[in-house]
């Protein structure tokens, strides 16, 4: 690890740079405010990644549990079932139903050196489990720090002093770790906001050599290499969340000059393995990150990959959600999910969890959700309305009803996960045995309703 009190700023935005002393002043100001607040479990919701980092450290320093909701919406906190005493946020207006600690009201105060928190203090995040309810995952700073050290060991030299910017939000653990904590602990500068458009990457790269922390959802939509910054200005591109399509990885490597470094892992396991296309036409196998061990265990569905490392959230061997084939040299190939959770735009979503939420709406009698293929994979919702719902449908039309249900789900889900196609038949299509078949549900979406 390099010296963290480097002269480089901690973070930069379009308007300002945040140096180390100003950053630590923020941490201290938040610590002081938290020390006199009774809350024990605090949800952290910030648009600005530097406030997110400061909030996370301040909560750890004061022995509070830092709860990171699955999505930065008030409904996501409620729906996760996480008990929360207060919300620490840079946009308090949206969280009026909770006790809020508004970052804007906390004035900078205090000084002195800060040591990073101990192993036993954790952040708590939520991810889609397979049982139909959000799953709570706790990580100690020790686990996060060991993972950062592993990433630094593997790629630190290649990155040098490049500026770290991300197309993915910081409230997903991959973003928290790679976009915020890694640069913070390694003395690199990060950009405070998510860069959602390719033009923003080009603008930063015009000034700085960059590390781009991204995902297949973004990279696979890059139509031409010219949309990305010149390859010479880019130290590395990371992609995580889901495997990158072969065609995309190959094209970027060939036409742009950088093969994205894909990291395989999950909120529960942390980083496990990586791969990057080289000049050859063969799809590369996944190679383990330093200090990570794997093995396969047989199940009815196939051979499930298990992982052991210093940054899995539970110690010892941990199951991943994936089936795999292990090659003789320890590298492996992934063969698909072992459970019913689907991946959409690199985010995990449990269809049974979403179904439970929809069933709670006053107009809904029954629901089936399924994954639809197409240029953009999305969720299709087949909803059987009750009498009240049918009355509304007759009065307001289909668009009004689907908008209402989308808005209902938007309280708990990020917009990219919401169903994009809706069908409201009178009954679910069932076969002679009374069983609703997947194929007949798919059939409902074969044509426009």
């Amino acid at each position: 690890m390099r010296n963290v009190t480097s002269a480089r700023p901690v973070a930069v935005s379009e308007h300002a740079a945040l140096d180390h002393s100003a950053f630590w002043q923020r941490v201290h100001a938040l610590r002081a405010a938290l020390a006199s607040h009774p809350a024990r479990r605090v949800a952290l919701v910030c648009d600005d990644s530097s406030w997110f980092a400061a909030g996370m450290l301040a909560l750890a320093h004061t022995g509070r549990i830092c709860v990171v909701p699955q999505a930065p919406q008030a409904g996501s906190i409620t729906a996760s079932g996480a008990h929360v005493d207060a919300v620490l946020t840079d946009r308090p207006a949206e969280f009026s139903e909770f006790a809020t600690l508004a970052i804007g009201d906390i004035l900078p105060a205090g000084d002195g050196a800060a040591s990073l928190p101990d192993d036993d203090i954790c952040i708590e995040c939520y991810t889609s489990g397979s049982a139909g309810m959000p799953k709570c995952v706790r990580k100690t700073f020790g686990q996060l720090r060991r993972e950062v050290a592993t990433l630094e060991q593997q790629w630190g030299q290649q990155l040098g002093d490049a500026l770290v910017l991300g197309t993915i939000p910081h409230y997903h653990l991959y973003g928290t770790l790679v976009r915020v904590l890694w640069p913070l602990l390694a003395g690199r500068t990060f950009v405070t906001h998510t860069c959602a458009q390719p033009a923003e990457l080009r603008r930063w790269a015009a000034q700085y050599r960059c590390v781009i922390v991204s995902s297949p959802a973004f990279l696979q939509r890059i139509a031409a290499p010219a949309e990305l910054p010149p390859a010479a200005q880019v130290a590395a591109v990371f992609s995580s969340g889901a495997p990158l399509a072969d065609s995309c990885a190959e094209r970027l490597q060939r036409d742009w000059g950088h093969a994205p470094i894909e990291i395989y892992g999950s909120t529960e396991t942390g980083g496990v393995a990586w791969r990057a296309w080289s000049g050859s036409a063969e799809r590369p196998y996944w190679r383990l990150l330093p200090s990570v061990q794997t093995e396969l265990r047989a199940e009815p569905a196939g051979l499930r990959l298990w992982v052991k490392s210093g940054f899995t959230w539970q110690s010892g061997w941990m199951a991943t959600g994936d089936l795999a084939h292990l090659h003789a040299d320890g590298r492996f190939t992934l063969l698909g999910r072992a459970d019913d959770v689907v991946k959409l735009e690199d985010k995990r979503v449990s269809l049974s969890e979403m179904r439970t939420r929809l069933l709670a709406h006053a107009w809904v009698a029954n629901v089936r959700l399924l994954l639809l293929a197409g240029p953009r994979r999305s969720i299709g919702a087949v909803v059987i309305l009750n009498a009240a719902g049918r009355t509304q449908l007759a009065a307001d039309g289909k668009l009004a009803i689907s908008r209402e249900l989308r808005n209902w789900l938007r309280r708990s889900y990020e917009p990219v996960l919401l169903p994009r196609k809706w069908r409201f038949p009178d009954t679910l299509p069932d076969n002679d045995m009374g069983k609703v078949e997947h194929a007949s549900l798919q059939q409902l979406f074969a044509r426009r309703a």
């Binding site: 959602a196 458009q197 390719p198 080009r202 908008r403 917009p415």
Partner: protein, 86 residues
């Protein structure tokens, strides 16, 4: 300008594959994202690509400017008109 607004309403529906919606369902003044039409970040990316392809405009501005241009159909139409110098 009105033609451009109608074109954009149609472009949004076709390029983003929005169902059950006709061009007139998209209020030119309402926000495209969040509380208005409810488009998401992937839609933003795809709409950006579609607009650049169809109108040959460049989105090289800062993120604040980009957000402003994509705020509504009306803003987008103004931005395209200005870039084309019409």
């Amino acid at each position: 300008m009105n033609n451009l607004i109608e074109e954009l309403q149609q472009l949004i529906i076709t390029s983003l594959d929005l169902e059950d919606m006709s061009p007139t369902d998209i209020d030119p003044h309402a926000p495209l994202f969040g509380d208005g039409l409810g488009l998401d970040s992937i839609d933003a990316l795809e709409l950006g690509v579609a607009v650049q392809k169809k109108y040959h405009v460049k989105l090289d501005a800062s993120s604040a400017d980009t957000r402003q241009h994509f705020h509504s159909v009306e803003n987008l139409a103004k931005f395209i008109a200005a870039q084309r110098g019409t």
